[in-house]
Symmetry: C2
Subunit: 339 residues, 2 copies
């Protein structure tokens, strides 16, 4: 993070009041960058067009550091919420952006993050229509924490759910695993290695649209915290099915694999911020892979496993050497503050 | 805040992962208390019924301490977002609740806050349908920070806006000023006084519905950070009008007035969490006051000023001794971490 010498270029407690300085910060630094008509109204609520059925989601972001190879906390907060809507089968429309800023934060860092959030929103075709800023004293936060919530329009008849999963279904991933985790870890001070891995943080709503129109999708998830292992354990549990993965089919870049070896991490537990897991019917699995691969954000898409009947709730993996082991739900926090 | 001896009764970094402990925290501690069908699905997004026009809002809450006379951060987060929707003229429907927890937080404190948030949501008739939890290391937050976002249904034809304000309009407040600020300040360690003032934190959506059906309302605001002075300066600025207040009509309890005298605070700059300011037409001002006073949450409602043509953007007050002075937008942060 930047350490400005000029005190006027730092966040102070006064930027958190309901007064003139707070107003100036919002009007001069945030509204022009985010540039949305509703946001510029500065009302207590944004007024937006609705839809018959909505998807609604929220996530807080506490990633450390706030800038990392391939992204920053602003891009992460926008993509994370866009992707939660997209994997629910919704068309993301509106986002809120709430910021908790630490006293002493360089205003230039805030500008960079807000510009990056705006760029990601444009990339995803969503509008940031409302927001909030709070300031806490130096030492009571770590630079900044962001919370985004999102509203999406759900097409009629579309209700993806783990309850739709059936034995025989195929398990797909849209690309390589672990890029986000390794990028963030490599940016942390004290980490003993350097890689050129960049985070995969990207909006997936265009990719999910393409996939949904090409295949019979049972349900989708984005494997963030807890990784592929976390998401598949949840799905196997909810759907009361077993999932068998094929390790050699799981795409992992050479650089990520090397970094994981050094760190003793397994890529299937690592966090991703621009990948989706889809469970699709056996009949449409090949069409689904083609749909993924024909999109730049899914070019390394692959079938990585299948759904079995029993034992319910269990995820197993056929390893490259040929063995078979149980993939448990990760127990603790392997990678703190990764998102 | 509680200091538990049992380590199993504290938040750890592991509660922030995507793994088993995070899952258990959510499933055992949060979902049963919040008890909403959509939330229990644990999907990436909640699926809810929509409406043609929506109000959408967000706020982060960093109040210190998290428990204070008359409320806590959970009740505050729910009421704050409900009230932002209500003063926009919307009927609040759905809330999200995202929590940033500090490592070492007593799980009992988390339970109390979540129970309180749920009770406030029931009081307001809204559903908490989605959420998120993140954990940051000890020292990187102050107990917990909450962010709520809310969606409300906007009745057709209803578009409250400062642009509707006209010279001659009446300025109303729904009750006494400053209760929230004084209650929070009195709870802080090191504050040299004790009062029995309790926070006014309460949902206002029932009161706004009653007011809207009784009077020609131009626009409403809730005077939180920055207080009455902040809100009226913003309105005078947006509407390019002048606002004149009558100090002796402004309701302030004796206990709050005494505390403000000790602390050197002016109640018109103090934060409120259960009051609204309404600008209504001159013709319906009396009906508006009656509507407020007939509701338990508006029983001290009063006309406190009027809109004048010039000078645009200026707020003045006729003081009790008979003088007149300009009420500026508050400049800095008078009351840090009040909400």
């Amino acid at each position: 993070m930047t350490k400005p010498n000029d005190p006027a270029e730092q966040i102070t407690m006064s930027h958190g009041g309901g007064g003139k300085l707070a107003h100036e910060l919002i009007v001069r630094e945030l509204v022009p960058v985010l540039a949305d008509e509703e946001l510029a109204e500065l009302g207590d609520s944004a007024i937006v067009e609705g839809a018959e059925r909505l998807a609604f989601t929220t996530d807080s972001f506490v990633v450390q550091p706030i800038f990392f190879p391939g992204g920053d906390i602003g891009r992460l907060a926008v993509c994370g919420t866009v992707n939660d809507l997209a994997v629910a089968g919704a068309e993301p429309l509106y986002l809120s952006l709430s910021m908790i800023l630490e006293e002493g934060l360089a205003i230039e860092d805030l500008r960079r993050v807000v510009r990056s959030a705006k760029a990601a929103a444009q990339e995803a075709g969503v509008r940031i229509v409302c927001g909030d800023t709070k300031v806490v004293d130096h030492g009571s936060a770590d630079g900044m924490y962001l919370t985004t919530s999102g509203i999406g329009r759900l097409p009629a008849g579309n209700r993806l759910s783990p309850r739709n999963i059936r034995p025989g279904d195929a398990v797909l991933i849209s690309g390589t695993l672990g890029d986000h985790s390794i990028a963030v870890l490599s940016a942390r001070e004290g980490i003993e290695f350097r890689t050129d891995v960049t985070s995969d943080v990207q909006p997936l709503n265009d990719l999910t649209r393409q996939l949904l129109s090409a295949a019979e999708v049972r349900c989708m998830r984005d494997p963030t915290r807890g990784g592929l292992a976390g998401v598949l354990n949840e799905l196997a549990e909810s759907a009361r099915v077993s999932i068998e993965l094929d390790e050699k089919s799981i795409p992992v870049s050479d650089a990520v694999r090397a970094a994981c070896d050094v760190l003793g991490l397994d890529p299937i537990f690592a966090a991703n911020e621009g990948k989706l897991v889809a469970i699709v019917s056996f009949q449409t699995a090949d069409a689904a892979v083609r749909a993924l691969r024909s999109h730049p954000r899914g070019k390394n898409g692959a079938i990585i496993g299948r759904v079995e009947k029993a034992p319910p709730g269990r995820v197993t993996i056929r390893t490259v050497p040929g063995g078979r082991r149980i993939v448990d739900m990760p127990v603790g926090e392997q990678l703190p503050r990764i998102c």
